[in-house]
């Protein structure tokens, strides 16, 4: 394990060292995407410079090497999430595509009229819209788990909403707006007792905490590479082998077939069955390098540092009487995402003004419109940390928020 030395860690990330509007960049939009360490950039560049061939085809040297690199990346992911087999790891474009794959393949063929699909009110649009489509086409019911005023989920809500009619529960392990960490293991256990399957959207959680699919007993789990130091355009679907076996393919084409006749086709074995077309080998190689970096750093060390940042940021935000935080106060119930509203300051003005101080944060509905409506908040500002952020950056954030109030004519 690497020593958690923030100064040397930051040096691994070339994009962090730049000026924005004449000020050093303070990047606090990690829930949207993270920056990439040099080892990831090198791995991608090495693949394209030295190998670059279409995997699973042909017998030439480069083709075989590209296949090995792609399949080794799959094995890295398998071990990282503790899946039983590499056949349970499907590479996708991102978490959204993985969720769509489950909705279209599992949902459209195995959910029937009168069945229930249960999701949480804080889901990202990517974990809402596909289920709306399944519910609509299959005449199923889409039900929501509502959070309590402390921005967490009561298990009583879970017990009352998941019933013996529920076929599928799909829930993010961590909310991209509230930072709330949901008890997916307990929810999975209850859902299984009711005969339902569970999808865990780990896009926000897996960059920051250990996600063990066997421990959770998830039937499906999805995440994106780019939110955990990897490149954009590579994501992962984990599915229990017996479920993936019974599901029809999602996308059709090359690489996912066994025999193609004029009028019929038999499909390839897992995982190729779900990977039509030339895959993103460079992306998979980059993701594997990112996992290697995270492992070396130690997910526990990452968690510890982010907890310190979150705790400090929450206490500093509390000093500002005009700030309202949307999210749990208890540190063990939340991750390093803080959404807030500043009285008299629209989030878009906040984002634009702090940008002139070099601070990158997100403003808007964060792809969670039903949640914003439920909270009766038209939009919020959001800061999201990663392990390379510093306490000093939190101070710069707080100072720039004070400036926002001045700019918008509210005094200090």
């Amino acid at each position: 394990m690497k020593n958690f030395d923030l100064n040397s860690i930051r040096k691994d990330f070339p994009t962090l060292f730049q000026s924005v509007n004449g000020k050093p960049l303070v990047y606090l939009d990690n829930a949207a995407t993270t920056h990439k360490p040099q080892v990831v950039l090198d791995a991608i560049s090495d693949y394209y410079r030295n190998f670059n061939a279409n995997p699973h085809r042909g017998a030439h040297y480069l083709g075989v090497t590209a296949t090995d690199m792609y399949e080794n990346a799959r094995e890295t992911v398998q071990k990282f999430v503790n899946a039983k087999s590499t056949r349970e790891i499907i590479f996708t474009k991102n978490a959204s595509e993985a969720l769509n794959l489950i909705a279209y393949s599992y949902g459209m063929s195995l959910i029937e009229e009168g069945d229930e699909i249960v999701i949480c009110i804080s889901e990202h649009h990517s974990n809402i819209v596909p289920w709306q489509q399944v519910a609509k086409h299959k005449k199923a019911t889409l039900k929501y788990l509502y959070i309590n005023p402390s921005f967490t989920l009561d298990m009583d809500e879970v017990y009352s909403k998941i019933t013996d009619k529920t076929k599928l529960v799909s829930i993010a392990q961590m909310s991209n707006v509230l930072g709330t960490i949901y008890p997916v293991k307990e929810i999975a256990e209850y859902a299984h007792g009711m005969g339902a399957k569970i999808v865990v959207d780990a896009a926000q959680s897996i960059p920051h905490m250990k996600v063990d699919v066997q421990d959770i007993n998830a039937d499906f789990m999805v995440f994106s590479g780019h939110k955990m130091l990897g490149p954009m355009g590579i994501g992962v679907l984990y599915g229990k082998e017996e479920l993936l076996e019974m599901m029809p393919p999602f996308l059709m084409g090359g690489d996912m077939i066994e025999y193609v006749e004029e009028q019929s086709t038999t499909y390839a074995q897992l995982p190729q069955k779900f990977e039509a077309g030339t895959p993103n080998v460079g992306g998979a190689v980059g993701l594997a390098a990112a996992i290697g970096y995270l492992k070396e750093l130690g997910i526990e060390e990452i968690h510890k540092h982010e907890r310190k940042l979150t705790s400090y940021a929450l206490s500093r935000l509390k000093e500002l009487p005009y700030v309202k935080v949307y999210g749990p106060e208890q540190l063990d119930q939340r991750g390093a995402v803080i959404s807030f509203h500043m009285d008299g300051c629209h989030p878009h003005d906040v984002a634009s003004i702090v940008d002139t101080y070099g601070v990158a944060l997100r403003a808007g509905h964060h792809c969670a419109q039903p949640l914003m409506k439920y909270l009766q908040a038209p939009a919020t500002s959001r800061v999201s940390f990663y392990f390379y952020n510093t306490i000093n950056e939190v101070d710069i954030l707080i100072d720039s928020l004070k400036q926002v109030r001045k700019w918008l004519g509210h005094g200090a």
Binding site: N21, H346, P347, H348, D349, A351, S352, I353, T356, A363, G364, H365, M372, P378, A379, W407, L408, G409
Partner: protein, 145 residues
């Protein structure tokens, strides 16, 4: 980017002023304008008298820039003919796109000239133009009546 050229006193004054922010008693036309990516959401209400905008007002929520731009636009179009209002909207949008740059050509926009530099802040252009696109939609419907 110079923040001073965007968050001017004039724009702040308009964004916090509520003189145009209300429902009309008997509006002839309501047009909703929405920036889905950021959530600015306004409802523009218009009352016609023959070919004249007799009264305009708005409700809704959004950032300082969208709210100020809407309020300035309403000040400007009250009492104007449909053609004049259309011309003002076209002039404003041409100013944002830097098609019209001469101050003398932009004077008709009065306070709304304050948004001349908004294109220096590309992420905020859609906030500034929301009201004016909404007005254009409403005027289109007036013409096709």
């Amino acid at each position: 980017m110079e923040l001073e050229s965007i968050y001017t006193d004039l724009i702040l004054e308009h964004s916090q002023s509520s003189h145009n922010k209300r429902h009309l008693d008997h509006a002839d036309w309501c047009e909703r304008g929405h920036n889905p990516s950021c959530g600015d959401d306004i409802l523009l209400e218009l009352k016609w008298k023959d070919n004249i905008v007799e009264e305009a007002a708005f409700t809704g929520s959004g950032c300082a820039i969208s709210q100020a731009s809407t309020s300035m636009m309403i000040d400007l179009i009250n009492g104007k003919s449909v053609e004049e209002a259309k011309h003002l909207a076209d002039t404003f949008l041409a100013m944002i796109k830097k098609i019209i740059t001469e101050d003398s050509d932009l004077e008709v926009l009065e306070d709304a000239m304050a948004f001349k530099n908004i294109s220096n802040m590309p992420a905020r252009v859609k906030c500034a133009v929301l009201a004016w696109h909404t007005l254009n939609e409403a005027l289109k419907n007036k013409k096709s009546e």
